[in-house]
Amino acid sequence: MMMFDRRLLMNYGWALFILIFTFSVIGLVNLYSASFQSEHYVFKKQLVWVTLGLIGMILLSFLDFKTIKRYTTHIYTITIIVLIMTLLFGKEVAGSKSWISFGHLISIQPSEFAKLAIIIALAKFYDNDFEPGPYGIRDLVKPILIVAIPIALVMLQPDLGTAFLIILISGSIVFFMGIRFKSLILLFIVIIGVSFSGWHFLFKDYQKQRIATFIDSSQDPLGSGYNAIQSQIAVGSGKVLGKGFKAGSQTQLRFIPAQKTDFIFSVLAEEWGFIGGITTLVIYFLIILWILDTASRSKEKFTMLTCFGIAAMYFWHIVINVGMVIGILPVTGVPMLLLSYGGSSTIASLLGIGIVLGIRMRRTPLVKDALDLA
């Protein structure tokens, strides 16, 4: 399974590796400033998660993607089982049953890993299919089911942010592969119909309240509306050069709630200014570009779509999160990958990069594989 061929190292995606490593360091430094005053454990834990994530990324990059492809169904099935277990035995935090905890120190959020599983499952589906697109609704029954089951499970937690992101990521893949216009309309009608019946029969009142606030944050002016204003003040007052490390008044005086998680980018923009914020965004976009480049060099649909899906995952996370922080999108519970505090999302996003690195490394079929084909 593990193949340590010298050519692999020559083909290794060092650029992506360095970008990701740099970004992880930026994330840790920024998180330290956001939490050092009262919560030292936050930085320490995140340091452990990032280290574990980077190790996992490197290990995963040496795993042949053919293995992943072979076990896709298993991975997907296990993910679904874990999501069901989360609903049954999960720990409730802030009204959502999204965590499975192992002791009081470690709890994981399976829905973060589910994103990767869904991407791989969709890639596998299209890889098997030899008909070219665009696809009609009948062709799409299977991928819709692949996506709908985990979404339903995540919605029940309820974790609207993650469910919404799964829709965006898988939607991007489906759209990328092509879909007939009529089917697209039909799909929308079905989604709306399901949402309505779900609203009336499935959700409890507190869940409805959360959904309502998710959709329209102005319903909760002293909650997320306040967050949005304070976040924008933080970003704007950072000006060109920022207020300096550990010197952001909005951050250090706790005017930004959730500043370790969802609003972490406002901490960075306040303390490091336009220069720091833009530099971070550029690195982030370079990572996505690099993943897309890997996709375009792929020789088969599975690897291309897996890369594309992971690129979409990074893309939607950054657009929705930064858009929220700078006040052009509503306030939603979507973390900023590798900046926000959180083990599951950090490790899952680094594992995603590991998969891409592995694909990149093997973009030229090795002699041995060629022989296999023959």
């Binding site: 070219p132 990328f176 304070q230 924008q232 003040i233 933080a234 970003v235 704007g236 007052s237 950072g238 000006k239 060109v240 550990k246 010197a247 008044s249 909005q250 250090q252 005086l253 706790r254 005017f255 923009a269 200014g273 336009f274 914020g277 833009i278 965004l281 550029v282 976009f285 996505i288 570009l289 897309l292 996709a295 375009s296 792929s298 020789k299 088969e300 649909k301 291309m304 594309f308 690129a311 893309f315 950054i318 657009v319 930064v322 858009g323 700078i326 006040g327 052009i328």
Partner: protein
């Protein structure tokens, strides 16, 4: 796989577009609007605590305190610290006797405006209320007491018309003094208003850093641009008024409606200024309740009107001083010119009566002034004509503001041009005739009459009246010393003035003089009586009454004048009988004070 290349290129374009949008928005926020956001972020964390500066005192000419400050315990609410609006509202409502709903409304309004700025709930609470609130500091979280300064007027109504009163600062006031606190009181009338710029102090403040929960943070990194400042008390304003003379003048006028002006004829300093009925300035401080306010505003006696400077009346016979001066100076008559008074004078088909039905017989100017013969002045005015006459009316300062630092009204100095301009009608000779005895279109303030009298007494200088003498800083440094000022000279030669002065002395001292009632034991007084005919509605009987306004204007000592005193008693009757005794009492006080070495 080639077919997907183009799609990936499209994806890359979308990616770049998203980057441009995010980066563009950050450019807008951090570079274009950075300074605005920086201000918001500063307002978020910087909390300002004010130390109100005491307002300057108002003193009389001998340094006696007419207006001072005392401590006032005021109740404030800091919206951000409020935990339970209902319990606070109810609790405060009980002790402060304010409607709980009103308190609730104030809190929620303040919360919306800026939850870090304290809002006042009640002012000047008593000791019991203070004890109640202090004892409940824990349950009344968000409520605090601040010691402010409030105005105290030890003499109450005495001097109120020129002292004025305070009121809540309006939007314009705050735009003039940007440092004013939201609930600051500023002068709304009288010297409190005209000298407001000196009286108002500079509030002190400290700035502290607070976190999102309102807790103070002592963090050097964020404290570098904090400022603080001690409060600077306002300057004291010293008036020209002598409060003893003022008291005497108010007592002399008593409960009657009217006005008194006492002015130093050498400098124009006002020594007493009475307007009655009046008000108590203290009523305005604790945001006067609407019932009290309506009563003040709607009273037919208009207590807020300063009758001495804003009250406009027909001058009646005191105006004969002007008529005589004009005629002498124009050479229409000399001191020997005689006219015969048969009791009336007929011009065309109109008959103008003298106040003395039987007539005065043949008399010269001196006798005409002493006995206040109307017909003599009818004849003089007929010869003088309105055009020349009008020049002198204005020359004595009528129809124009005196320049006093109080609200005043200019009144009317009639002339041909004035009538054509305002009433679009030509001038009639008969109107010249009645103007000569201070009736008709003429309308003057008691202050203008006092200054006219002073201009004769000082030999021709029309003074600019002065109420503020100087301004001194709290540590005694003189910031402003106002020297006497003039509004020019009256257009009358010295000889004519001497004739008039002799006659005015005769009014009081000659047998048969109309001002007999103002004579003093040891000092000669000069003056002129006036009885202004008015038509007024008697509020009690609802009948039109014809009780005339009583005037007396005077100066003393007659040969070396120091002080001019003018009195009007509304609907008092004859000037000689009613107003002259008032003047007498005031002059007595003046000279007694002078003897004691106190003026």
């Amino acid at each position: 796989m080639k077919e997907y290349k183009n799609k990936l290129i499209i994806a890359t374009v979308i990616l770049i577009q998203a980057f441009v949008i995010l980066a563009g928005r950050m450019w807008y926020m951090q570079i274009l609007k950075g300074n605005e956001y920086e201000k918001f972020s500063r307002d978020n964390r910087v909390r300002i605590t004010r130390f109100p500066a005491p307002r300057g005192r108002i003193l009389d000419r001998r340094g006696r305190e007419l207006v001072i400050n005392r401590s006032s315990f005021d109740v404030y609410i800091l919206p951000n610290d409020v935990k339970d609006v209902d319990s606070i509202s109810n609790s405060l409502s009980n002790t402060l006797e304010i409607d709980a709903g009103e308190i609730k409304k104030k809190i929620s309004e303040a919360f919306e405006a800026n939850r870090f700025i304290p809002t006042p709930i009640a002012k000047d609470i008593n000791r019991d209320q203070l004890a109640y609130i202090e004892a409940r500091k824990i349950s009344l979280q968000g409520v605090f007491i601040q010691v402010n300064h409030t105005r105290e007027y030890p003499y109450r109504e005495i001097g109120a018309p020129f002292i004025g009163y305070l009121g809540r600062a309006s939007k314009e006031d705050i735009s003039r003094h940007p440092n004013l606190a939201r609930d600051a009181l500023v002068g709304k009338d009288g010297v409190e208003r005209s000298a407001d710029e000196y009286l108002v102090g500079d509030d002190g403040y400290t700035q502290t850093i607070t976190d999102a929960h309102g807790r103070e943070v002592k963090w050097r990194l964020l404290q570098k641009d904090l400022r603080s400042q001690d409060s600077v008390p306002g300057a004291d304003v010293v008036l020209s008024i002598d409060i003893d003379l003022q008291k005497s003048a108010e007592e002399s006028l008593g409960e009657r409606a009217g006005a008194v002006v006492a002015v130093d004829v050498r400098t124009g300093e006002l020594l007493a200024l009475v307007s009655h009925p009046t008000f108590n300035p203290e009523d305005f401080i604790d945001s006067m309740d609407s019932r009290k306010w309506n009563k003040l505003m709607s009273s037919s006696k208009s207590p807020l009107l300063n009758r001495a400077t804003q009250g406009l009346y027909a001058p009646g016979s005191v105006f004969k001083i002007v008529t005589a001066s004009a005629a002498l100076n124009e050479g229409v008559i000399n001191s020997h010119s005689r006219f015969y008074c048969p009791g009336s004078y007929r011009i065309g088909n109109r008959t103008f009566r003298c106040w003395k039905k039987g007539g005065h017989g043949l008399l010269n100017l001196h006798q005409a002034i002493v006995q206040s013969c109307d017909v003599y002045f009818y004849r003089v005015a007929e010869k003088l004509g309105i055009s020349r006459f009008a020049k002198y009316i204005r020359g004595f300062g009528f129809g124009a503001p005196t320049g006093i630092a109080l609200n005043e009204r200019a009144g009317i100095a009639p002339s041909k041009e004035w009538k054509l301009d305002k009433l679009k009608k030509p001038w009639y000779v008969g109107e010249t005739i009645i103007t000569s005895i201070g009736q008709g279109y003429l309308s003057v303030s008691p202050l203008q009459v006092a200054l006219m009298t002073a201009s004769i007494a000082n030999g021709g200088t029309l003074l600019r009246p002065q109420i503020v003498k100087k301004v001194t800083s709290p540590d005694g440094e003189v910031l402003l010393n106002l020297s006497p000022q003039q509004n020019g000279r009256i257009p009358v030669n010295e000889e004519a003035i001497n004739v008039i002065m002799k006659a005015l002395k005769g009014v009081v001292n000659d047998p048969g003089g109309t001002g007999w009632a103002s004579r003093l034991d040891n000092i000669e007084v000069a003056g002129k009586t006036g009885t202004a005919q008015v038509v007024a509605l008697n509020t009690i009987s609802d009948k039109i009454s014809h009780k005339d306004h009583a005037w007396f204007t005077s100066y003393a000592p007659a040969d070396n004048p120091e002080i001019a005193v003018t009195v009007i008693v509304e609907h008092g009757g004859g000037g000689g009988a009613v107003a002259a005794p008032v003047v007498k009492r005031i002059l007595e006080t003046y000279f007694r004070l002078k003897e004691e070495g106190n003026v």
